[in-house]
Symmetry: D4
Subunit: 164 residues, 8 copies
């Protein structure tokens, strides 16, 4: 079973990662951009009438920014972080991972890992050249696909800055 959601991962070896080099290079967002994305995602949800929490992590899943709206539940701190962590660790939007790990699938045990959370609302943030540079997770909207919409609004907020 080769599902679509692993497609990004499969293309990786094409990147110029030659064994003879000593180093691998990575990029992360500045904290200012991370905060802007998180705040924009929260405000988009608020405008829609949803109370959410948002976490932005670097591409290794280490949190950079978090904000929780006034009536969002206590769980969104854990939930939004784990969604962002999952999206960058698996290089897959969590909505796709939710589908690919449903009960009965071959990969369903991914749900038993200590940090992975295959629940919509987690996306990679990708630079203009295709590099994954961060993850964003939104939690608290009435459904996971609405969390996704807010996450996308957060990414849109910084799109210009990460275009190159």
């Amino acid at each position: 079973m080769k599902t679509a959601f692993f497609a990004a991962a499969m293309g990786l070896a094409a990147a110029p990662a030659l064994a003879q080099d000593a180093f691998v290079e990575f990029r992360a967002l500045t904290p200012e951009l991370a905060q802007r994305a998180a705040t924009a995602a929260m405000e988009h949800c608020r405008a829609e009438g949803y109370q959410v929490g948002v976490t932005v992590t670097d591409r290794f899943g280490v949190p950079q920014a978090f904000v929780r709206d006034r009536f969002a539940g206590a769980h969104v701190h854990e939930t939004s972080f784990r969604k962002a962590w999952t999206a960058v660790s698996f290089r897959t939007p969590t909505t796709e991972l939710a589908e690919a790990t449903k009960a009965g699938t071959d990969a369903s045990a991914i749900r038993n890992l200590s940090q992975a959370l295959p629940l919509g609302g987690g996306l990679m943030i990708v630079a203009g050249d295709g590099d994954v540079v961060a993850g964003i997770g939104v939690s608290g909207a009435p459904s996971p696909d609405l969390d996704d919409v807010c996450a996308e609004a957060g990414i849109a907020e910084i799109e210009m800055e990460i275009a190159f």
Copy 2:
């Protein structure tokens, strides 16, 4: 998928929570009322022939009162707390959340959070003006819907006091 169980959350933004205010205000039960509700729920179950444990938390999920009947199992301390925590954090009765997170649904990974417990028996306690002021969780009855009945009896016990 916009399930009914998130409806309460969606209405939140209508509350007078303006960004220019410095503070958000919350109310919680007194410990005396929390205990009365927990005890009434336990006694209702006992009268029905069930041995249960009951936790009442404030609206942030911090426990205020717990009581366990003499033959109720060791698990009810954890179970009743997590049911109450889940109801107030998600602003949803746990029976609804159980339905909405069943295996195969988009939101099923909520079951993998560290504290959430989508298992009937957890309810919000709502003041007369519609404010969520506490959560109650019951565990040990022969089925989750019977846990719900006892939780409702616990709320009924303090209904007059929280009417305004």
Copy 3:
């Protein structure tokens, strides 16, 4: 949904547990009997060709005896304990609880508790007068129902001693 597996719990209130009494009384096995039951269960499985671990707990789920056969896996320490703990805490054989908490059922979130393990092989040990006095859990046989058979052999070993 009132499944059969809660029947034992429902009968509890019929026991002479009057509110005016200060104390509730409980009985537990001696460590010698606990060991005998555990060893007999292991030996029965060994005779069948299975390598298992067995835990006997008191009626509160606190372990009293454990033994692991020479090739039984590292997981049986946790598994056999949690099976015994689950059987006495829920007053239900774990095979029944496995059925009652399957994916899609109302009670399936019981599987998300920190200690409960709805996996066949855990039984209550009941004295001749109907009192639950211990729990036994077996892990490592080729299937949960075979674990059950060995657990029953462990109980049979001490049946005479706990008849009264």
Copy 4:
């Protein structure tokens, strides 16, 4: 090093616990008494001007009652439970255990166990005949010895009922 705090344990073998008996008998408080003790301890602290949480467990450390005063911190749910659990598991007041496990002592690693909490405020509740029948833990007073005073007030509340 034979410290005083283990003295109670050393006397245990004098109890009539003969190997040939099948059963060991235990007693626990009714939930009503457990609640009365917890409430009395909280009210004593409140009268002194302290905001606390109180847990009463049975003699195996399983919680029976908990109450938290209105301004007591979020930590008292864990703290009061673990104090009571520690007192009954080690058969030692936690103030004695705090002394006996201080940094530099032979027994200091007891502080690294997952549940033990050698912090004053945890006491055994002992029946008139010397049997340990419950544990009580208080948390939130300005110092551990003041937690102890409130715990003693909780025990005094039910002293008559458990005298025989």
Copy 5:
């Protein structure tokens, strides 16, 4: 031992918290103020040459805002949160709690709780009328007292807004 660090707690009962009232009222910061305080604390540290993370929680310890500077370590997400949580739960600056719980003190086992972190850098945020309305935790400066200085800068940023 009645150390100074519990003084705030001792004064609590003087607040108008009468048992006959059904409710207790609390206030929390808006997410906008929480973010401003966190960002100001981070920027103050950055200006001093330190790379830190900052969490602001509400008065129950639930996180509202977090930001991590670009070279701050992976641990600051946990550390800054637990400092803020500890300050509001114990109603004590963590520097005072660090002193009061040092090895050898009566209260040293507080260090063994699952969330408490008696390490300087955690402060209560107090409204003009004396109410605790939030907690702030800073982690990553060269020493805990420098973390404190940045936390104070974060509070100063919102001082005017919470004066009444």
Copy 6:
């Protein structure tokens, strides 16, 4: 239900493990062989275009070697270890265990154990005489069955050395 995946376990008692012997003997790989197998598995995946992590454990599940390719996700450290641990503890390839523990099966609660991970990519390493001498787990390929292929390539690398 006697599924095929327990067949290996059932044959165990046929081994010369007589109760009168004091000792049971086990063999493990040298660290050099463990590293060679892990590296070969990673390189096979890399050649296929997949970025993975690989853990080799001894037959008790204690890790001996781990390697993670440059773009493999943060989760592969946990995932590859738990796959290898699961294969040797249950004496079953994790792909078989995934099938045998799917939602709805009798054995599905195995997924709730703290370390077991029924997710393809974990295999036993078996010496020429049939003895289990190690476990190998691969994580990061586009699907669990592709993880299996890389794990097999790791075993093939050391096949000659463990033939006797």
Copy 7:
């Protein structure tokens, strides 16, 4: 600082562990011997008037046998296991490790590991030829050095069987 307690480890390389060999060989006790040692340790403590729990693990720290006396506390299941695990993992009696890791020493952070328990009562069981073949941990005696005495009695019980 090279303390004596690491001496055993230092001699290891003298064993014939040549890199060119594919395998390393280990021996473990039969479950019958493990149980005999555990029971003998418990009975020795009981004769002295102490109520203890005893765990015997194989040389990798995987439990083989456990027994708890009738009044021993709930903590001894965890404590006795971790003592045995620690003794075999560090190849050091836990009383020596307690001394070597006291507050203020270079190695004191060993106390912060998840499983290590530097608390007297844990010993290696060594075969006649010097091989470590098991670990034993005793918990519940009035002091750690008395736990040690009972552990030694457990080893003495099987001394003849493991002499060769």
Copy 8:
């Protein structure tokens, strides 16, 4: 208290990390170099007569390579990882952090974090231009300072490759 061990952190702001840039850049070792360093550290210890485990992580603490010698204890998987993680997260050799967090110091509560391990044997791996590019942790030598020596040998092995 401004101890020397934070000196590296204090110099960070001098790096060209301007707020107006969208990205921060990081470098990590290739897996091949990570393995070479880990193996060299293990072999250096083996030559000295010590049996150790070694983990190399990237600069965010995510593991890249691990190897354990044949008689090294089960704890070295956790220990070596946490040492490396701690060194890179705190940008401080763990021997310095052990000194700076000893019982009684202001920073001693760092020992209560979930992952930090202030125990000698953990070092940063620094590129020729001063950038931290990885962490290395060694565990199992007779004392933490000897673990340090082996870690340094591991770094020396790859010194030429990371000089520029």
